[in-house]
Subunit: 176 residues, 2 copies
């Protein structure tokens, strides 16, 4: 994994891919599937995300204030759904789904070696946690695996139905 400059993190999150969120608490790593996230600021990159209080990851995220947001390409699609269909209360998910936890640099939560991008994050705003389970996190460090060429991400449309990235358009734009 190579470092990715923080100003480019929005290019990964803004398109709305299904992501994996890892946490670590008391030496135990866990991973969940998440689609409710968005960019909030370019740099430093801030991301808002909803982690349900019913999710096992919720308590770890709230207590440790750290996580990794990892972005899987389509070859992990069935694992991504399966990860979302069970709980870390019952299952050691990294082992069960054949994911390789890799030490992060700035947080205790692990990177996922099989994902093409990994974002190390700390929680910076909890004001909307109580009402909406909405956390604002800051990306401290970003990693990209350039050996995965043109990774296609997946976008969840409900009930296990996902749409995969298709053609790329390069439209005339004035944006930076």
């Amino acid at each position: 994994m190579k470092e990715l400059e923080l100003a480019r993190v929005y290019q990964l999150i803004e398109p709305g891919p299904v992501v994996l969120l890892t946490t670590a608490r008391n030496g135990r790593a866990n991973v969940m599937t998440m689609s409710w996230h968005m960019m909030v600021e370019f740099e430093p990159p801030l991301i808002a995300c909803v982690v349900s209080a019913a999710d096992y990851s919720f308590a770890a995220l709230r207590a440790t204030k750290e996580c990794v947001i990892a972005i899987p390409a389509v070859r992990l699609a069935q694992e991504v759904v399966n990860i979302g269909n069970c709980s870390g209360r019952d299952v050691a998910k990294f082992e069960k789904f054949g994911l390789t936890p890799t030490p992060a640099k700035r947080v205790a939560a692990p990177l996922i070696a099989e994902c093409f991008a990994n974002l190390e994050c700390k929680v910076v705003d909890r004001r909307l946690v109580k009402m909406y389970n909405l956390f604002v996190v800051e990306v401290l460090q970003a990693w990209i695996d350039r050996s995965q060429k043109n990774p296609k991400t997946i976008h969840h449309q409900g009930y296990g139905k996902c749409v995969v990235d298709g053609e790329t358009l390069k439209l005339k734009s004035k944006m930076r």
Copy 2:
């Protein structure tokens, strides 16, 4: 446009499409392009979104507490980028870009006839507006144009580069 049940709104927003946001203030309608949004709750559907204080729409959204989130399919892609590249301060965007404003049922902001889905929204939480320009809105009424078959949405990757919805996967899932 047919009514869409509110419990299905998440299936439109969760995949992360580029959307258009309309407002109306003092009899003048405006429209902006937005990619920083996410679901917050299934039903009633709550959506978080970031509307920059630099956007002309910001003041209208803050003052009227109403908007429409309209979802364009790929045939509108260049218009969507162009809408994001100019301001309602200078341009009457509905006219300039050939969009048809249509009266909404519950809010003053207009629907966009050319979009395959339209969500009428009211602002329900402004606690993170000051720090992040982050609004939480509730969808009051949702509309879908079933004459647009299998609409492909677009996902922004920065600098006018967009990825279009590709193949659909139906993965085994336990989710409702």
